[in-house]
């Protein structure tokens, strides 16, 4: 047993040392595996970044109320009567002054100019009620100030300022014939709200000719358990044909569609590329076995078993693949991690997000590299182990 172990160590060392003799072929395998890992991880980091931005936006104790069947805020309409009914509904938290903590909102799409492409893109302009900002987690004005009630001032999320032109602090923006001043930029812990423009609800309603029109209601609940009470209240009242969801639930639904789509594109592409890299790995390892045929046969002739030859070849292949995997993961981290991008989200407006790698994703990338190395080494390793001594010596 000990001698077998020593044989394995010896042959593996010979294998690894001989890589330099096939440096170009070996290097091409390493790079091929690295490219597969880059493609996979870039897509996964994109899906992950998008998912984190959206899913990180919702709280369990905030209810969002939409017209039944509307699915997204942009499609919803809620009347003033419905807003009043919900205000007095069960489970809604009240402030120190006894007023319900709710924010009826209007969600409009306006044009902005995307910095990278200089093309028009859909941006969300949200008219929010008095409580709008406090009903969202971690909102902090990072420069400037909050808009004044009753004036045509807006505050914009910092993600939006990064990706779209013309929203810098102090500038004037035009939406149709209306003019607005950017008085503040806010931070929202990287959530989807950082892609939005906020203004005072009554001002938006009047300047966009939407008097008494609301689209959604956000409400702070007395606790996550109160959601069920509010839902039942809404379902039982025929005047309220509304969907009541927790904000967390709403955003989870919104996030899943796009990030599923990105993953559905990324995995098949990476698997197809991995098959191509696998062909390269097999080629390299068969060449390795062929190049060392005499050496393997010599070792066999002096008493080495077939098993060490098998392990040596397999380890060589795994080492090349692991190197490729590590290179690929490192390249993805340096090139893509933290890259800001934006795409059209579930509300038909741009969502700004960052590519985000995570240890779990890197694990998936390395796992894929090792699978390529394992399969790519297995068959050549079997050939090495089974090689007839005589053929090898005369080859």
């Amino acid at each position: 047993m000990r001698s077998l172990f020593l044989q394995v160590i010896a042959v593996t060392a010979i294998n690894l040392k001989s890589i330099s003799q096939r440096r170009w072929l070996s290097l091409s395998t390493v790079i091929a595996v690295a490219l597969v890992v880059v493609v996979l991880l870039a897509f996964l980091a994109m899906a992950n970044g998008f998912q984190r931005t959206i899913a990180g936006s919702g709280a369990q104790d905030i209810a969002i109320v939409l017209r039944a069947g509307s699915q997204a805020e942009i499609n919803s309409t809620v009347s003033r009567d419905q807003v009043h009914l919900i205000e007095d509904g069960p489970g809604i938290a009240r402030g120190a002054d006894g007023k319900p903590l709710i924010s009826p909102e209007l969600y409009l799409v306006v044009d902005g100019l995307k910095r990278t492409t200089q093309t028009k893109a859909n941006l969300p302009l949200r008219g929010i009620g008095d409580q709008g900002a406090t009903l969202r987690q971690g909102i902090r004005i990072s420069s400037g100030r909050m808009f004044n009630r009753g004036s045509n001032e807006v505050v914009v999320g910092k993600g939006l300022v990064r990706e779209f032109a013309g929203f810098d602090l102090g500038s004037t923006v035009a939406f149709g014939a209306t003019r607005w001043t950017v008085v503040g930029i806010f931070d929202a812990e990287g959530s989807v709200f950082e892609s939005e423009i906020w203004a005072d609800l009554p001002v938006v309603q009047s300047l966009f000719n939407r008097n008494n029109v609301f689209q959604t209601i956000r409400a702070r609940l007395t606790g996550p358990a109160a959601l069920a009470d509010l839902k039942k209240f809404s379902d039982d009242d025929p005047r309220l044909k509304l969907d009541v969801k927790s904000e967390a639930e709403y955003f989870a639904e919104q996030a899943s569609q796009t990030s599923d789509l990105i993953q559905k594109l990324g995995w098949p592409l990476a698997i197809a590329m991995a098959l191509g890299a696998l062909a390269g790995a097999l080629n390299t390892m068969y060449s390795s076995v062929a190049a060392r045929a005499t050496e393997i046969a010599t070792l066999r002739a002096i008493g080495f078993g077939g098993f060490p030859a098998f392990v040596g070849t397999l380890v060589e292949s795994l080492a090349l693949a692991a190197l490729g995997g590590i290179l690929g993961a490192a390249a993805t981290y340096f090139i893509f991690d933290g890259v800001s991008a934006s795409t059209l989200g579930g509300n038909f407006t741009q969502v700004v997000f960052d590519f985000k790698l995570s240890p779990a994703l890197i694990g998936q990338g390395l796992g894929m590299a090792l699978v390529v190395g394992l399969i790519g080494g297995l068959f050549p390793a079997l050939r090495a182990a089974r090689m007839p001594i005589v053929a090898g010596l005369y080859g």
């Binding site: 290097l27 091409s28 493609v39 409009l108 990278t116 149709g176 590329m273 062909a279 390269g280």
Partner: protein, 386 residues
């Protein structure tokens, strides 16, 4: 044995190695075919857009409404040949997951503006104009749901409700719209704006956008400026641009698809270039002695060069062509499920041609260095080497 036979024999002398290279080339061209097909289909709106068609939308954003009164005012603008309008309905069938493109349109003028794109028989067109609850369905959508003329189907909206509280509208299918060419997307449904406007609970007398045809593309700029100036400083300012510019900006909203496609295809090609290039070099090196023998037999340097290059080109074609064929099968299989994102998803003849040029390029790049080395090889060195 002729030269081609020699190339073939050389290529397949090590069967496993040849098969592995063919597989990696096949996969790279499969990825190329699928992604190029997707990219073309995704941007087809831009290519398909007629140069004399303009769109007028609300300046705030195209999702904001315009007053229907704009129809008559724009019609009077000099240079406008045909004009129609439409309103987005947000339709779905049975389940909100079955999202579909449904537009409320003005039935008489809509097909005037799109006469070059869509084919509807005169009888069907008359029925669509006459029947208040009539709808015409694109061929692709009708095929997907198995609908035919005479069917009565309920379509719900995720935006609108009827005045009577109902969330869905019933339509009688009175015609099937055919695309004038394969590139035209027909995955949509149209119904009468008048019926929609009378029954919806809010938004009366507003429309989503106007589409107009100018007398000639040379009029585009002037017409667009005239229209936008006409409504400047009103509560609903307009933005008029070519349909092409509009489609292009909309496609760009999803992200830089072109860059993603370019990077992925690039990564796949760098991979095969390295694998195939190195393997070709290796296999020619192994054959040094044979090349020496061929030269001894009187094969010229040029002929040796052609033999080696021919072998690498043959390899690229044997791997690449089936790769494109598989890509064509994949695009055909995914065509229906991607109809909303990338209509008429396919490996078109142009893509196939680009693919073949890429194959020849690949064969040239991977074969040229080994081929030049083989051409310059001296007989004495070749036969002398182990």
């Amino acid at each position: 044995m002729n030269d081609f036979g020699l190339m073939r024999k050389n290529l397949f002398r090590r069967k496993v190695r040849a098969a592995l290279m063919i597989v990696s080339i096949l996969i790279a061209f499969m990825i190329f075919g699928v992604l190029a097909g997707f990219y073309r289909a995704f941007n087809s709106g831009e290519d398909r857009a007629a140069s004399d068609r303009l769109m007028t939308v609300n300046k705030i954003n195209f999702t904001q409404p315009l007053p229907i009164a704009y129809f008559n005012r724009i019609k009077a603008v000099d240079g406008v040949k045909q004009l129609t309008y439409a309103n987005w309905f947000g339709g779905y069938y049975q389940d909100p997951k079955n999202f579909m493109v449904v537009l409320a349109v003005e039935p008489e003028t809509y097909f005037d503006v799109y006469s070059r794109d869509f084919i509807l028989t005169p009888q069907e067109r008359q029925a669509f104009i006459r029947e208040r609850t009539g709808a015409v369905v694109g061929e692709a959508m009708a095929r997907k749901w198995g609908w035919k003329v005479g069917d009565r189907i309920p379509i719900a909206s995720n935006i609108f409700t009827q005045k009577n509280g109902a969330r869905s509208w019933d339509f009688n299918i009175v015609g099937i719209i055919k695309g004038a060419s394969d590139q035209i997307d027909t995955n949509f449904m149209l119904f009468q704006y008048a019926y929609f406007d009378e029954t919806r609970s809010f938004g009366k007398d507003t429309i989503g956008w106007l589409i107009l045809q100018t007398r000639s593309p040379a009029d585009n700029d002037r017409v667009a400026k005239t229209i936008d100036a006409m409504f400047a400083n009103s509560t609903a300012e307009t933005s008029t641009d070519t349909e092409k510019a509009f489609s292009k900006a909309f496609a760009a909203q999803f992200g830089n698809i072109a860059l993603i496609v370019f990077l992925v295809v690039g990564a796949a090609f760098v991979t095969i270039l390295m694998i195939v290039g190195n393997t070709m070099a290796l296999s020619i090196r192994e054959r040094t002695r044979e090349i020496g023998v061929l030269k001894t037999l009187g094969f010229s340097g040029g002929r040796i060069l052609r033999l080696v290059l021919g072998e690498s080109m043959l390899l690229a074609l044997i791997g690449g062509i089936p790769g494109l064929l598989i890509a064509a099968l994949i695009t055909a299989a995914l065509r229906n499920s991607l109809a909303n994102v990338a209509p008429a998803f396919a490996v078109t003849p142009e893509i196939a041609l680009q693919g073949i040029l890429l194959m020849l390029g690949l064969g040239l790049i991977t074969g040229i260095i080994p081929a030049l080395n083989a051409m310059r090889l001296k007989i004495a060195t070749a036969l002398g080497r182990g």
